[in-house]
Subunit: 606 residues, 2 copies
């Protein structure tokens, strides 16, 4: 993988940073965040501005370009990948390491006195704006919103914003109709005494209206905003998508219905002016509810006295706690009809996946890596880096799909020859961590970050660790990464775990230039039965939804406790029962033989 040569692009960008065509006054630095105007994690090609200017295309990273320097902040998942993709014009800022400066500290250290730093106000979340602005101000600089995006100004072949057809989801998938969802939402608004709610996250709009799209790869969402009033509903979306009869019927656009459920369809681009118009009409104590992660542009549109900001919108929380129809769907989606694909390569996996009922798309780019490529945590094979699988190297496959009934995400690490003692040792520590989380019992109301160390303890004991969180929320035929819950040492916006939430459990271990190991299941938070019940609080634990054998060849059994051995054997028994039955009914005898072989019980010698 050779880095993108950015010398000319940076020259052009620095030119527009001084151009009176875009700016009233020159700026000395320009911030290029990762996201789009909806603060999405995965973004459409037209929004990949940071990748365009730098070459680094991982899912998380912020570029800052000054008159002399260019720097890229990213986290432990991307240290290796970013180092390979950026050229020598760039300095890589490894977040989470002790000596890495924050963006604002770095800016303060390199900027000439009294500098102006620019950023697109639609792309930067309001909370980040506030943090950076404050730090700059206290050092005598100023953060300014630059209306026209300066990357777009130099990006000649920038793709169009996608506008793909929508898919409607009926009650058998969603469990709750969109009118009911709106009614429940309005009840929450009354409780908090707010008159309006602005929905900016794409998966929240999708969930609310029981619609799905494909504007963003892997994420079944579409570009839209919604503004919900106490008796109005505005959907900001490119109008031609509302021409489709099934969408019109689903949203009851042509039916006569109660006024408060009548959806007004408004052009996508007009959200800012409409929001400003709403705010002009507010009486003194009337409030507008917005996520504190929404863009600075929309946040600023609401006068401070009328703003009601929270880390999670009520939709974010309602969406995280899956209802019975959703849980059942997620369970169905996790019974892969053809689980033998886990030992073949990424394309084959996709081919098999795509044959399954209700398949829509992958849920993220398949990570299929062997040997040293495995150490690049979010590696995606491309022709220049492609390595043949062999009997001498560890193979890591992290893949998932969007089905109409649910979203999957699974990682298995395998060896097709004889793993070394060290590889087995590391694999076993990762497995111990995976089991420690999966089998953990914890009180109702526990936040996910308090479970993160369970996944690391066995690695820590030997001086090892991994530089990513242990788990993320998983949407139901929605984004494979969703808030507000997760399992990570980062405590940011971590809502307590509740029965019905779905997260991943994916500890790993990565050795630069050698191999990568990760064991990932999607798990459902369920009530746990315990011997006692302190303070009548109730307890929770996890049920694995993913049912794919964990390669026992990679396990150093003496390192497991008896309890851990029992967990592996119980898990494999369940894989054999559920997946075996499916394979049998499909007459896939070879796959069934493989499954039985791979789920043989392991035994600890005494």
């Amino acid at each position: 993988m050779s880095p993108k040569i950015t010398t000319e692009l940076l020259r052009q960008l620095r030119q527009v940073m001084k151009s009176s065509r875009y700016l009233t006054e020159p700026i000395q630095a320009y911030i290029v965040p990762s996201g789009d105007a909806h603060q999405s994690e995965y973004i459409a090609p037209c929004d990949c501005r940071r990748a365009f200017i730098s070459g680094f295309d991982g899912s998380a990273g912020t570029a800052i370009i000054t008159e002399q320097k260019a720097a890229m902040w990213t986290d432990g998942r991307y240290f290796l990948q970013a180092a390979q993709q950026i050229d020598s014009n760039w300095t890589l800022m490894k977040m989470g390491l002790k000596d890495t400066p924050t963006q604002e500290d770095w800016l303060v250290s390199v900027l000439p006195e009294g500098s102006k730093v620019g950023v697109d106000p639609f792309i930067i979340p309001a909370d980040q704006w506030k943090r950076i602005s404050k730090a700059l101000k206290s050092a005598g600089h100023v953060l300014v919103p630059v209306k026209e995006n300066l990357i777009d100004a130099i990006w000649m072949d920038r793709p169009q914003r996608p506008c793909k057809p929508l898919m409607t989801l009926d009650l058998s998938y969603t469990g709750i109709g969109w009118k009911e969802k709106i009614a429940a939402l309005r009840a929450k608004m009354v409780e908090r005494k707010v008159l309006w709610l602005v929905v900016t996250a794409l998966d929240e709009v999708s969930w609310l209206f029981n619609l799905r799209g494909s504007d963003v790869e892997y994420n079944p969402v579409f570009f839209a905003y919604a503004v919900i009033g106490t008796d109005t509903i505005r959907l900001f979306i490119s109008g031609d998508r509302m021409a489709d009869p099934s969408t019109r019927e689903h949203l009851l656009l042509d039916s006569s219905l109660e006024a408060e459920f009548k959806i007004q369809v408004v052009p996508y681009e007009s959200v800012l002016t409409e929001l400003q118009a709403i705010c002009v009409g507010l009486s003194p104590k009337e409030k507008v509810w917005l996520s504190d992660k929404a863009s600075y542009a929309l946040t600023e549109a609401i006068p401070k006295a009328h703003r009601y900001l929270t880390p999670c919108t009520p939709i974010c929380i309602a969406k995280a706690v899956k209802n019975a129809a959703e849980t059942e769907g997620m369970r169905r989606a996790h019974v892969p009809k053809g689980s033998v694909t886990e030992i073949s390569a990424a394309d084959k996996a996709e081919e098999f996946r795509s044959q399954q009922t209700d398949f829509v798309d992958l849920s993220f780019a398949t990570i299929s890596s062997t040997g040293p490529n495995g150490a690049i945590i979010h590696y995606k094979p491309v022709p220049e880096t492609n390595r043949a699988l062999s009997g001498n190297e560890i193979y890591l496959l992290d893949s998932g799909a969007q089905y109409k009934d649910g979203t999957t995400d699974v990682t298995r690490t395998m060896h097709f020859g004889t793993p070394s003692a060290y590889e087995k040792e590391c694999f076993t520590y990762v497995l111990k961590g995976h089991i420690a989380v999966s089998a953990a019992i914890f009180p109702n109301g526990t936040k996910g970050h308090l479970l993160d160390s369970f996944a690391r303890s066995a690695l820590w004991d030997c001086g090892l660790d991994y530089l990513h969180g242990t788990g993320h929320g998983v949407g139901c035929f929605l984004n494979v990464h969703e808030g507000p819950c997760g399992i990570s040492y980062k405590t940011f916006a971590d809502e307590p775990l509740e029965a019905g939430m779905i997260v991943s459990d994916e500890p790993g271990y990565y050795e630069d230039e050698s191999f990568g190991i990760r064991i990932e299941n999607v798990v459902l938070v369920i009530p746990a039965k315990t011997k006692y019940n302190f303070s009548n609080r109730g307890s929770l634990t996890f049920e694995p939804l993913t049912l794919v054998p964990i390669q026992t060849k990679m396990i150093s059994v003496p390192l497991l406790t008896q309890k851990e051995c029992d967990w592996v054997n119980d898990y494999h028994r369940k894989c054999r029962e559920v997946i075996g039955a499916e394979l049998k009914s499909q007459g896939r005898h070879e796959a069934l033989q493989w499954l039985i072989r791979e789920t043989e019980p392991i035994t600890k010698m005494h």
Copy 2:
């Protein structure tokens, strides 16, 4: 224990809340926080305003009195005690439980429109002021500073502020002289580009000048502020204490020395006006460094543009990482000459402690509780509640002392008859949690809150838990509770653990009306040797400084893993070696026999 009858006091307070003698306009609510003007946890009798108005005398709690209501917020350590000490005029607000409103939410729900809420600006930390003020404002109310303390106004027999003699500490105890400490501090100030540092925490002033006092019970500190400039040192303290020749000599008050180490002694009360005067003289970019937990009054005295607020001052962090002299002192202080006292009652324990070299005072009020009293987490025996120890009930002793070389804090739970199977089961879960933390290996830079769940895991597995943190920082002949590190699910101001820091490890289990169990050691953070060393980060673990047998009679050995058995046996071997040698040299044969009996190895049957 009967509650304090507060009807008349509340009537008087509500009267002054409307009195033009203290207020330009009446207030509708008055907040009485726990602390003093230095945000101390333990406070002098003259500052026990919340205890005076309510009867509840635990170390943590906030009272709010409105025209009609009175409410008391406290945490899980004090639910039982507070319920016993407050009368029916009060509502107990159990913090940490799901349905308990925050102070600001409660105020908003009970106040009439457009209310004024008062608080003493010297007592409330600036961050709390900000939080409450913001919430009140957004609901149409206002928080106002009330200069004269309204509790003092009705407190007829309020004690005088203590002004006890000071003790000077030489280099053999402190390891570093005060001039060197000031020089290191100024280097930090240069690094952060601040001109002034205001020291408000009493233990920080004590540590900085290598002085100790006894103004506050158990905490060897004295009432003072310090303001450090780049070439000036101001110590705000009642002047007559500087009359003592040894103090004058220690601080070099009469020596001719470099101007930048000349200490100006200024009256304690003038800190606000002096700080205001300093701020008047500041040039635009000059900054004053202050803890963000300092009082609202001092914070407000610094104009916003000149404020440099951080959660920890550099003194707080320097103090937490003990140097070699301090670590050695803490080790010496933990070798009790007469450890048999742990099986006798609190007075006897104090009597024995006081006979030891370098004994100064207790480090907190001894918790000596038997049977149901043990469930009151911060119980202190008083004549009305005193229970005889018996062979039928669990006995809990939590005690510690201030020695010139260090501070101790230890809890042991014992049974003098035959414990029930359930009592042993619970004790063993607590022990497993204690060991899980004590033996944990974790990377350099790990924050303490990430270890908290290790202490709870065995309890959680059975549906049990305890409602307090697992550990707190421990000062070196300073406060037994000190920041900035700790081990708690609360993530507030949690600095990463570093070798040299000292914390407690004290999981527990408490059953209302039955018993309390806690096993507490003071432990030193030390480097750990691990098989591998990921990212060259290095690992840490804990070394117990406390060496007191853990009653094996209370252990249900089959519930322990082999590793846990080994830990108990290794720990007891060390107790026998270190304490045994001391007892032998003192000729305490009976105690030695007891020690040998109590440290017999335990064996797991196979």
